[in-house]
């Protein structure tokens, strides 16, 4: 069952989807492939879906996931197993059905004038960056990726970035790949050397905040993807607010991607653990 949305708003659908595959990527991270013809066709980089994972259960809220890649009728979601929802997702088997609402939110802005982009991602922050890197490369934009993780094994989507990026720099906390240290240490030299037209960031919020400041210092526009706990996912419940210079915005419909300079970081706190 699918049903379309009102004219005025972004076109969002409630779509019944089928699991085509679900595999472990690394410790605690999985990749699920969904057959979702209608949503897959409409989704743009940085948008997300609101997934109903386990219908049999008495009650479970939907869970939001960025679309990692979309091709034809397929959606790929890269997920980290954290709690009850993602654990259930990790157990979903080929052929199972679930439903999702999507595509949701405003994705990454990709001005036509772009010639060089820097993508900075930490940990699972690479999830919403897959489609972005691919589309930018297809448009002929030179893509540089700065990717950080705790250890080499957790550099998820590393191959994808290696394929499409002109340059792919890595930092790991334990030095098992690339530089030892935080990904933020890579950003300053990259901004200086490569002079990107834009910086895209996704990762833990403290890291996003630092990169946003680095971009601001260099005078480069910066976009960040923010996460909030989401109830409805479609703008109705106000559980996902982000404080911005333009007041409180809903991450689900006004984001999840924001211009970094709009975000009032001090009050934009995410749950401590994530």
């Amino acid at each position: 069952m699918t049903c379309g949305s009102d004219g005025g708003l972004e076109r969002m659908l409630l779509e019944r989807v089928t699991v085509l595959g679900n595999e472990r990527v690394t410790e605690g991270v999985g990749l699920v492939v969904l057959e979702a013809p209608r949503v897959a066709r409409g989704v743009r980089p940085g948008q997300f879906v609101h997934l109903r994972i386990a219908e049999g259960r008495d009650f479970i809220l939907r869970r939001p996931f960025s679309v990692h890649r979309a091709s034809g009728e397929r959606l790929e979601i890269l997920y980290q197993v954290l709690g009850v929802g993602t654990r259930a997702l990790s157990l979903a088997e080929r052929g199972e059905e679930m439903d999702l609402i999507g595509p949701l939110g405003h994705g990454w802005e990709m001005p036509d004038t772009l010639s060089h982009a820097l993508l900075v991602c930490g940990g699972l922050g690479s999830a919403p960056m897959g489609m972005l890197a691919i589309e930018l490369a297809e448009k002929g934009v030179a893509v540089t990726v700065a990717q950080g993780a705790s250890t080499a094994g957790r550099l998820v989507a590393r191959e994808l970035f290696a394929d499409v990026a002109r340059r792919h720099e890595i930092a790991t906390d334990d030095g098992s790949a690339g530089e030892r240290g935080f990904v933020t240490a890579l950003v300053e030299p990259l901004v200086a050397q490569d002079r990107p037209d834009i910086v895209y960031v996704c990762g833990p919020e403290p890291m996003e905040r630092i990169v946003a400041a680095q971009a601001a210092t260099a005078g480069v526009p910066c976009q960040v993807s923010l996460e909030r706990l989401m109830g409805c996912g479609i703008g109705a419940c106000l559980s996902c607010v982000v404080s911005t210079v333009h007041g409180q915005k809903r991450a689900c419909v006004d984001g999840p991607v924001f211009n970094a300079e709009e975000v009032l970081w001090a009050s934009a706190e995410i749950p401590p653990k994530y």
Binding site: G4, D6, G8, L9, I60, L61, G231, A236, C237, P271
Partner: protein, 306 residues
């Protein structure tokens, strides 16, 4: 055996085409759901709470999932009644559906001012006075936990509006029938219940409460038995209609509330899980009546067999 069901119900002078309305704060003003729901098939849209001045709401995180339920501490974030009229009401005027505006205030005077501002708006079919929000520091639930304060707000708003007046009650009280009788005595045309149960959840990894505000309101299937009990108690104690809510996710849940004494039912948290929940429940309710040979859905109200 009937082949059609009369789905209409009456809330005082207000007739609804069917008993299924939205629960305040879970459906905004309906716009966001217009892609999933035929709004014209709703009994009514009950809007998010509106106050005199803009309210910023509480810090994030504002929700947490719990067993068969969720906590929220949104805190009545809203742009104030003026902006609400200019935007939501203008949009709602284009839709053929009764609109019940949920109103809030930090003081009796603020409740009255909101009611006065809405009095001239023809699109507003009724007011729902929220004296039960656990998520604001002043006012909110405090009005709903004291018989005299509940009576005072009701009396004041009553004198400010000729529209049907529904008072929304909090479950966080020793005796909800006492509050219900008090607002009935002051001229309320109906009561709606329950608002959320005050709850708390703590993250055992971080030792922080899961909500930034520490406590919030519990809703969803978990609270249904408490809600059904209170609807039953209140329906037995007052003679004005009751709008029942709290955990309704299926047509059978809606039936349960009606059997307990509700004239209409509101669907809240279930919208988040299934944005088409209101339609599914309305259709299911009609099918239930058809199957049982019930000609008018209103026959279900209070039909519990003790």
């Amino acid at each position: 055996m009937n082949h059609t069901v009369d789905m209409r119900v009456r809330l005082g002078s207000l007739e609804l085409r069917n008993p299924v309305v939205t629960a305040s704060g879970t459906f905004a003003s309906g716009r966001e759901y217009a892609g999933f729901v035929e709004l014209e098939r709703l009994g009514a849209i009950v809007t998010k709470g509106v106050s005199l001045h803009p309210w910023a709401g509480n810090a994030s995180p504002r929700i947490a999932e719990t067993a068969s339920g969720m906590l929220n501490s949104i805190g009545l974030q809203n742009p104030g009644v003026e902006a609400f009229c200019a935007s939501d009401l203008v949009w709602l005027a284009t839709r053929d559906v009764p609109v019940i505006v949920n109103i809030s205030g930090h003081s009796v005077a603020e409740y009255v001012a909101v009611a006065e501002r809405l009095e001239a708006e023809a699109v507003v079919s009724a007011l729902e006075v929220n004296i039960s929000c656990p998520n604001v520091d002043e006012g909110g639930m405090a009005f709903g936990t004291s018989r005299s304060a509940a009576a005072e707000v009701t009396r004041a708003v009553r004198s400010a509006t000729r529209k049907p007046l529904i008072v929304k009650l909090t479950p966080n009280v020793t005796d909800i029938t006492e509050i219900a009788r008090a607002v009935e005595a002051e001229g309320a045309d109906g009561v709606s219940l329950i608002n959320t149960l005050l709850g708390m959840a703590i993250d055992t990894d971080t030792f922080h409460p899961k909500l930034a505000r520490a406590v919030g309101g519990l809703s969803g299937p978990a609270v249904k038995p408490v809600a059904v009990r209170m609807v039953w108690q209140v329906a037995s104690a007052v003679s004005i209609p009751v709008i029942g809510m709290g955990g309704i996710a299926t047509a059978e849940d809606a039936v349960e509330f009606m059997l307990a004494g509700a004239t209409a039912v509101a669907v809240g948290t279930a919208n988040f899980v299934d944005p088409t929940a209101t339609m599914r429940i309305t259709e299911g309710l009609e099918a239930f009546c058809l199957k049982r040979g019930i000609g008018r859905v209103a026959e279900l109200t209070g039909a519990v067999r003790l």
